[in-house]
């Protein structure tokens, strides 16, 4: 297929996009400044600006050039002032480079009092231009003024173009200067761009901020003919500027604290950090013992640039020369600023990356905890003659601390456990695991849940109390043949007992595990008639809220059970109904806490078709409220 040249890159359309430039350098004198601004006005007239635009540009150039002449430093008065006009179809840019000590641009241009005799220059510039920026370098500054053009068609030069022959000769001379200057600048800028690209490519490969920083800063040293740098970073949430990278090991120093100190007593890096703008450094004027940058040498000088991302201070970059050589030019200072902005961006990127990794680690931890917890729940519940066990577990979070277990102790007896480990994540899951193993190891043939709780507390106290966690647990020993039970509780919810069609609340008090080093527990005994059963639960059930903000409550739970206790019901059916009831009650309200419960019920209906199996499936904890198949 033949290639065609897109319209947008046709050669003739390019110059118009780039703009037309005229740059003049002139001696630091008012008369010279006046000639230069007249020439530039004539140039703008040729570019088709209307009379008002011409006048406004000439006026702003004149104000800037006059300032440059009138406020030049003694050394700067010997250097030429440069005025430049760049004319685009839609806007004009005016640049004046001065050798003054610099001035501050007011943030806004309030109308000035009519009776003020001086100081109108900046006000006029800010009023007539759409955008004004002042770039401060070490010994020269550049005022950049931009104005949107109102009329954009080309018009021939009018009578305002009054350039004389002498003017034209000067213009020719300065054009030659301009071209060689531009060539130098172009070379410099392309080198710096290449350095940035080189570092970017490497960063993409390694994501190593430190290595990247060193390479970028060494490139910057080369480009600006500097010989030292000190880069500090402020860790997120801290006010300490810590050394991150240095050009030589002896430049390492203690962190600087961004505190309430007073400025003359501050290190230059702190001054730059606090002012959020670049500050010059001169070792000859630095206070001994106060200025870490004095380590760069007694004659050193340089620039400290804050590393900013928006308004956020990330650190500082100090860069300079050891021997009191020439200070940085405007172009070099601008380059340092560009590199600093770029470096700040990379610091922010690296921090984002770190946060992402951290978030991934947290998610991974939660996933592990979730698996541990799932593994904790019994895959199948033991089933003893005439009774069935069913359980439900629904987790509010990715990881909760609820668990249940049923440990067979003999042909007719077992220990039922429902517990809630306070806390979340891996630690909670770990404690639940320990608790479960301990219970299984200690249960033995103990018919005394209170003794079991005491021993559990003694074993777990040390570990639980050091991490500020505790466990509530309900232990019920059941002898199904004798229709007898013994219940003990470590600060857990009461048990609901079904006996002969009635429901009773068995409330036993006790301290949660992990609160007191030594404690004893009470236990209550009870017998139950037929049909009989038990409901053990965690407070996630009774503290569940409905959309009206009401709690489900123990009373409601007891009433709900009483309504179903009159006629025999299978444990599975009770479990499913209660889970459905909890769901109905909650409505659209999100689950606040884990909900776990275990139902033991005398099951005449199922007793006769038990078949050959002696175990019943516990619910699959991954799909709450469903009577799933055993986990494989």
């Amino acid at each position: 297929m033949p290639a065609s040249v897109p319209e947008s890159i046709r050669a003739d359309s390019i110059p118009a996009q780039r703009g037309v430039t005229n740059r003049l350098s002139f001696r630091c004198e008012l008369a010279e400044a006046r000639v230069a601004t007249r020439i530039l006005r004539a140039f703008l007239a040729e570019q088709g600006l209307d009379e008002t635009e011409q006048f406004q540009c000439e006026l702003c150039l004149a104000e800037a050039c006059n300032n440059a002449v009138q406020y030049a430093t003694p050394a700067g008065a010997g250097l030429p002032v440069t005025a430049e006009v760049i004319c685009h179809p839609a806007r004009v840019e005016l640049r004046v480079t001065d050798h003054t000590a610099g001035f501050s641009l007011p943030a806004d241009c309030n109308p000035i009092e009519p009776d003020r005799e001086n100081g109108r220059g900046l006000f006029i510039i800010q009023s007539m231009m759409n955008e004004v920026n002042y770039y401060r370098g070490r010994d020269e500054n550049t005022l950049v003024m931009r104005k949107t053009r109102t009329s954009q068609q080309h018009r021939p030069a009018d009578d305002a173009a009054t350039a004389t022959l002498e003017d034209a000769r000067r213009q020719l001379e300065s054009c030659q200067q301009t071209i060689s200057g531009m060539a130098r600048e172009l070379c410099f800028r392309s080198e710096s761009l290449a350095a940035i690209f080189r570092c970017c490519t490497e960063l993409g490969r390694t994501s190593d901020l430190e290595g990247f920083g060193y390479r970028l800063l060494h490139d910057l040293l080369h480009l600006t003919a500097a010989d030292w740098f000190v880069m500090r970073l402020m860790p997120a949430g801290s006010s300490r500027l810590e050394v991150f990278a240095v050009s030589a090991p002896e430049l390492r120093s203690e962190p600087l604290i961004l505190g309430p100190g007073v400025e003359p007593d501050l290190a230059v890096e702190l001054t730059a950090a606090r002012r959020r703008r670049d500050v010059e450094f001169d070792a000859r004027q630095a206070r001994p013992g106060l200025e870490p940058l004095r380590a760069t040498g007694p004659e050193a000088n340089g620039l400290v640039q804050p590393l900013l991302f928006g308004d956020k201070l990330l650190g500082t970059l100090a860069i300079g020369r050891r021997e009191g050589g020439t200070p940085f030019s405007v172009l070099q200072a601008e380059m340092i600023r560009t590199f600093s902005e770029f470096m700040a961006m990379q610091v922010v990127n690296a921090r984002h990356l770190e946060e992402q990794v951290h978030a991934r680690l947290v998610a991974h931890e939660l996933d592990i905890a979730h698996r541990i917890q799932r593994a904790l729940l019994p895959r199948s519940l033991p089933q003893l003659a005439g009774f069935r066990l069913a359980a439900s577990w629904e987790s509010a979070r990715q990881v909760g601390g609820d668990f249940y277990d049923a440990i067979p102790l003999g042909d007719h007896s077992m220990l039922l456990v429902v517990a809630d480990v306070m806390g979340k994540g891996v630690p909670a899951a770990m404690f639940a695991t320990i608790m479960r193993s301990l219970l299984r190891a200690m249960a033995g043939r103990s018919h005394h849940p209170a003794r079991l709780l005491r021993r559990l507390n003694e074993v777990l106290y040390q570990e639980l109390s050091t991490v500020g966690m505790f466990i509530t647990a309900q232990l019920v020993y059941v002898d199904l043949q004798r229709r007898h039970l013994v219940a003990a509780s470590a600060g857990h919810c009461p048990v609901l007992l079904i006996s002969g069609g009635n429901v009773r609340t068995l409330r036993v008090t006790g301290t949660p595990l992990g609160i007191l080093p030594r404690t004893t527990y009470r236990q209550h005994s009870a017998t139950f008639g037929s049909p009989g059963g038990l409901l053990l639960y965690t407070d996630g059930l009774t503290e569940a809220l409905n959309p009206a903000g009401e709690m489900f409550s123990h009373d409601r739970l007891a009433q709900w059970l009483a309504a179903r206790a009159e006629s025999p019901m299978s444990a599975d059916a009770l479990r499913d109904e209660l889970a459905a009831e909890m769901c109905r009650f909650r409505g659209a309200t999100p689950l606040r806490d884990d909900q776990a419960f275990m139902v033991l019920a005398e099951d005449a209906a199922v007793a006769h078709d038990r078949g050959g199996t002696d175990v019943f499936a516990a619910p699959d904890p991954r799909s709450p409220n469903l009577a799933g198949s055993p986990l494989s």
Binding site: F55, L59, P114
Partner: protein, 102 residues
């Protein structure tokens, strides 16, 4: 620059520019020519192509000199080019001088 007297009236014309170079000499010459109690001072800007902040400062200095202890003086700027008139308006000088076209 041309300065004409007519009794207590003063008229200044033929001003090419009021800029950083000539503003102070313009101010000093006009002030020197000013009657003790002037009644009208007219500055004709028909020929004036350029005024900068120094020029504005000189005009303001003349206003102060003329109105010092003299409430009845009229200060008038004649026929400024539109961009220059806009500059006067921007810097509020039109509140001190009457701007007239004839």
């Amino acid at each position: 620059m041309k300065i004409e007297h007519d009794g207590n009236n003063l008229r200044v014309s033929d001003i090419a520019e009021l800029n950083a170079i000539n503003a102070s000499s313009f101010r000093d010459e006009v002030r020197a020519a000013m009657p003790t109690m002037p009644s009208t001072i007219e500055i004709d800007l028909s020929q004036t192509r350029f005024v900068d902040s120094s020029g504005l400062g000189a005009l303001f200095a003349l206003y102060k000199a003329a109105s010092n202890g003299n409430d009845s003086v009229t200060l008038r700027l004649l026929n400024p080019r539109p961009p220059i008139q806009q500059l006067f308006e921007l810097t509020q000088l039109h509140r001190l001088f009457e701007i007239a076209r004839r």
